[in-house]
Amino acid sequence: MDLSSISPVTLIVSLMAASTPILLAALGELIVEKSGVLNLGVEGMMIIGAVCGFIAAVTTGSPWLGFLFGAICGAAVSMIFAVLTQYLMANQVATGLGLTMFGLGLASLLGHSYTGINPPLFSQIHIPVLSDLPVVGRIVFGHDPMIYFSLALTFAIWYFLTRTRGGLVLRAVGESHDAAHALGYKVIRIRMLAIAFGGACAGLGGAYLSLVRVPQWAEGMTAGAGWIALAIVVFASWKPGRAIIGAYLFGGVTVLQLNLQAAGLAISPAYLSMTPYLATIIVLVIMASDKKRQSLNAPASLGKTFFAST
């Protein structure tokens, strides 16, 4: 065993890249759940984003257009879920699961002729002087633009939820849709927007996977990342700042266990792989343990169907 062969700097850099897809998807789902909707279709929206972003990037030669198109397509498929659950009152859990399976199948179909192609390169930014600083240079200034975007988005969502009127309305809809409706807020419309935002974020996360992290298109390439994003939202107790911690913990454990193995540490990878899930369960137990911790709880209307009687 030679742990000195693991460089903390490169570990952090690769951890951030590995975590960004699940962070983006988790942030989107966080907004969706804050509005009181449980969309289990994250995996399906992600893979649609991955394949559509990839196709757009390969066709146009621009990774930026790839990201944009991935987000648009993620939002577009989420609208299937939105219409079914918000207007046709379908069960959210079943519809979400259906969206995942639909997304996986549709993505395989769309991506059929795109396997084995290399996408245009999306390079890391390089700021003269700053990026060349030891340690700090690579950790702070040496990433690709999407990583900075994901961090900025986290901050923006935190600001929106806690400091703006719009955020308050969104949370009100999620806590009690009947009360929000009585106050005159358009519950359905707000939820539609939240679901579209969630779809766009999941699509963006998928596009990051197929354009930067892997970068190629392969069927089923999300390999459960969408489900991890769902777990992160719970782990984060619906707070954006904690979603970063959750995403970096989940992503970090994967990267760390591979690095430890490469360094020759004889610990079963199974133990490390299960730690994020154990942490999620512990968070759930803490939440349930005490009434005073109610602020940690899920939005009260989460997963409930809203039917405007008047």
Partner: protein, 358 residues
Amino acid sequence: MNLIKTLLAGAAVATGLAGAAFAEEKLKVGFIYIGPPGDMGWTYEHDQGRKAIVEALGDKVETTYVENVPESADSERVMTQMALSGHKLIFATSFNYMDHVMNVAKKFPDVKFEHATGFKRADNVSTYSARFYEGRAVIGHIAGHMTKTNTIGYIASYPIPEVIRGINSAYLAAKAVNPEVKFKVVWAYTWFDPGKEADAANALIEQGADVIMQHTDSTAPMSEMKKHEGIIGFGQASDMGQFAPNPRVSSIIDNWAPYYVERTQAMLDGTWESTDTWHGIKEGMVEIGEMTEAIPAEVRASAQELADKLASGEVHAFTGPINKQDGSAWLAEGETADDGTLAGMSFYVEGIEAEIPN
């Protein structure tokens, strides 16, 4: 028309099976895949084999495949479904389908099963595998010559004999040409997860490996290598030629097509028997993909020579003296490994510093 031929072929099958009612039916051949045919690796080659059956035997057969079948009770359901819907020959193309194949085979004695890389057989279950380790020896030879950091990274899937054998074979061949060489092994615990495979490649590169070998099914490690300067790797299971000439400098190709066609033909002829097939470079089940210009000419020549000698049987990939990792003697000077030991190999050879997870 081919009607007469079909009738004759069908009748030949029918005599051995259930009677004239089947005489007009095509032979239905089923495949279960661990990943998608679009993985450009392991499953891709099995699907090429399936297509070869269609090409060679045309309208005498009808093939079906189910992709992304987990190595769990799910696979039993899929195979049962296939057997119930009239498939007479079923190819199960991943190691851990093994016990499930045996279970389903017991229930359907009339259906023939072909299990890839396994070792359990029955009257209606054959096994087949390729001597991937011969290919591993050739790329190990190239890797030993090419590494500048003397560190070779190996992305392994599950600790099963097939994978361990590959690591040992590659190590011995690399060590033979470069005594300084070290192996770093990462177990991904998956056959197909592009994100994780890319992370594994990245972890190995960060820790100084400049040659990466993989025993997982996707091309993600290739994409990861491409992002770094001066890293080379080898196509696994399939040629992965889209990454040539760099980082992919050569490859191990599994060519299942001739075997699949032969076995299906045997079904049509009514001559199918339970067998155990283990073919290598000689029979063409293992092919070495084109070696690119990135490899120096003399290394290309010596690697080709090694491949030729492995094919002719002049050289065996496991030739003594070889000790096990713990230092105990395994093969004496000049002794070669027998197939039984190789098939169940669960130990590293001396010199590999990692441990096999259990």
